[in-house]
């Protein structure tokens, strides 16, 4: 098993593809607009830049950039758990791209958060022991996110070592330090190699903690929350939905990057991966529906048209469409259909986060409803474009994606998988 694993890792390589394409210019434009919008917020403050108000202190920067961002970065810990805890090493090829998405996802979560914080320069305060506030859900989320971000960077470090080990060539007079740098890389790589399982386990634990706590945040506002979404098991639902969205996110990103780089998509492997999604997404929606029934809150869905529409869209895009599509073997075999199904699941979870943080939140005294300003939208879009751009840049430089495209005939990985499916259970969760 580990022999295969290291083989598949050795076969990761930087993607050979021109850096500039028309798509990259679109990304750069969106990033530029977002950057100007961010500067505007920093210079003129939240009142000028956003639609935030005393009744609505949180907007899309929290609901989308932070809450959805964290959920959609769940591909990192779910894939790591599948490959390393449940030992499904055949999915090893997906671990590195998922890790990169998580690392960048969390980095951009922090960037978005900084813009939202009124006193962003105090963002490090939760680290000071005399300011620790153990009652605060947000404190736990902050500590976990901070720790997890460090874990992600450390998990990615071996990839950087791999890229430069044996070929350190510093420019000019710094060349004298080539030997030192080489040694540092080797030592770091050796230490990380031996301790990696500790980091991976920490990453999974931290993810379980803050993914669920993110759902506990709004439990402190019982009088402002719509009963459709306000439930004591909201932390559990957040954890289940984050776990269920991990693999679809990996599939979306894998298919998208193969189309962008004109590579053959990993359809076979992804098709096998999303079988788990049927189970995981099913479990999430069963829990959600049972909760609505037990609390007798289903009536509230139809209390007003806004709630009906918001919940309806969430159910349709986040539950019905992906589940109905992914049970079909034809969908799992067809890249475009697979992409639609997985993108639907991904967008569905984002809609759920927006529903919980914005739609379900109705303050007691509000003169007008919240709708994001142009600056808020520009920053959010700019951050997303930035994430895609940095992801693209990194896979061009570092060995993240598999070096060899899957062949048309049954791939090596798929062959292995078929060979194993007889001796091992088909689904680790069943």
């Amino acid at each position: 098993m580990s022999r295969h694993a290291s083989e598949s890792h050795e076969s990761c390589a930087p993607v050979k593809h021109p850096f500039f394409t028309p798509g990259v210019f679109v990304l750069l434009c969106l990033m530029g607009v977002g950057f100007v919008a961010a500067l505007y917020r920093l210079a003129f403050g939240l009142r000028a830049a956003t639609s935030l108000s005393d009744p609505y202190p949180w907007g899309i920067w929290i609901a989308i950039d932070v809450a959805s961002g964290v959920a959609l970065a769940a591909g990192g810990f779910t894939t790591a758990a599948l490959a390393h805890v449940f030992h499904r090493r055949e999915y090893e090829a997906l671990v590195r791209p998922a890790l990169l998405t998580a690392m960048l996802g969390y980095t951009f979560v922090v960037l978005g958060l900084i813009l939202d914080l009124g006193r962003y320069y105090n963002i490090w305060h939760p680290m000071l022991p005399w300011m620790w506030q153990g009652n605060s859900v947000l404190f736990e989320v902050a500590m976990c996110v901070m720790a997890y971000l460090n874990v992600l960077y450390l998990e990615f470090a071996p990839i950087v070592c791999e890229r430069f080990m044996g070929r350190v060539n510093l420019p000019g007079p710094l060349a004298a330090l080539n030997g030192v740098a080489e040694t540092v890389l080797r030592v770091a790589d050796a230490i990380l190699g031996r301790t990696m399982f500790l980091l991976i386990a920490a990453g999974i634990m931290l993810s379980c903690m803050h993914q669920s706590s993110l759902g506990a945040l709004l439990l402190i506002a019982p009088y402002k929350m719509n009963p459709v979404w306000y439930t004591p098991i909201l932390p559990l639902l957040f954890l289940l939905s984050a776990i269920s969205v991990g693999f679809p996110m990996v599939a979306v990103e894998s298919l998208w990057s193969s189309w962008a780089f004109k590579r053959r998509p990993e359809t076979k492997l992804l098709g096998l991966l999303v079988r788990y999604t049927v189970v995981l997404l099913g479990v999430y929606w069963i829990a959600k529906v049972c909760d609505l029934v037990i609390r007798e809150a289903y009536g509230a869905i139809f209390a007003d048209p806004g709630t009906t529409i918001a919940f309806g869209i969430e159910f349709l895009i986040g539950g019905l469409i992906p589940l109905a599509m992914l049970v079909s073997a034809r969908v799992r075999r067809t890249p475009r259909l697979l992409f639609v199904a997985c993108a639907s699941a991904v967008i569905g979870v984002a809609i759920n986060r927006v529903n919980v943080f914005l739609v379900a939140y109705s303050p007691l005294y509000a003169d007008k409803p919240y709708f994001p300003s142009l600056v808020e939208i520009a920053v959010t879009v700019g951050l997303m474009a930035g994430l895609v751009f940095v992801y693209r840049t990194i896979v061009l430089i570092f060995p993240v994606l598999p070096a060899h495209e899957p062949t048309n005939s049954p791939s090596r990985v798929a062959e292995e998988l078929i060979a194993q499916s007889g001796e091992r259970g088909r689904c680790v969760l069943s």
Partner: protein
Amino acid sequence: MKALGAGVAGAMLPLGADASDAPGAASGCGMLVDTTECIGCRKCEFACARANDLSHAPLESYEDTSVFDTRRRMTAGAYTVVNRYPDAANPEKPTFVKVNCMHCLKPACASACIVGALHRQENGMVTYDAGKCLGCRYCMIACPFQVPAYEYDNALTPVVSKCSFCFDRVTSENKPPACAEMCPPNALMFGERNKLLQLAHEKIATNPDRYVPHVYGETEVGGTAWLYLAGRPFADLDLRAFSGKPVPELTETIQHNVFKFGLPPVLLYGLLCTAMKTFGDGKQEGPPE
């Protein structure tokens, strides 16, 4: 009946630093707002702004009653506002209600605050320390009364804005809160919460026609330091019904049980490490050397 009210109201109820500092001493300080006495002069708004160095107009301008035409809420520049509630049964005598931070006994804002910038002091006053604050505004999400306002206009050093119960005035200058000191008809009575509660019930018992038989804030969200008496249903005065359960109870229960002695995360971590090392083929796993 009137004499009792006026008599006690005239003097500040015994509070004293010694009473509130004693450990376990009562419930700390409180304020009794008798909305049947309030004449809507808004002098408390002026006194509050002056005492807290908030920008304000001269005292005369507070006589302008046109502000009552709209229902107001606290803002970044005003820790307290008085609203007028017309009474259909008695058009000549509307009810005036002063609103500000209720200083909950179990404040949701302080429970939510990530760095303890919002904190319930031993004397029951909920105070804010801008030096610690990150500006995440989770306190504003948490507050069931929707009290904290934010200084969104300030690009560099915005603060969460809310009544501090004049904590510094009371503790270091030994004066009552500015609003209570200024209030001409003694609709505001500052003192020890337990005693004010007792007084409020005495008022209701001796004058049942004047008051609805409930002290708002006695049980709401687990009790608040600010207590209200009214001659009309509280719901008509924007003083909403809340259960007696402290708002942060659910989140604190979850936090403290899931992380009891840090045990569950540690167990999960151990389980994960074991699974990674044992259930494979025993060889080194994880991203490669």
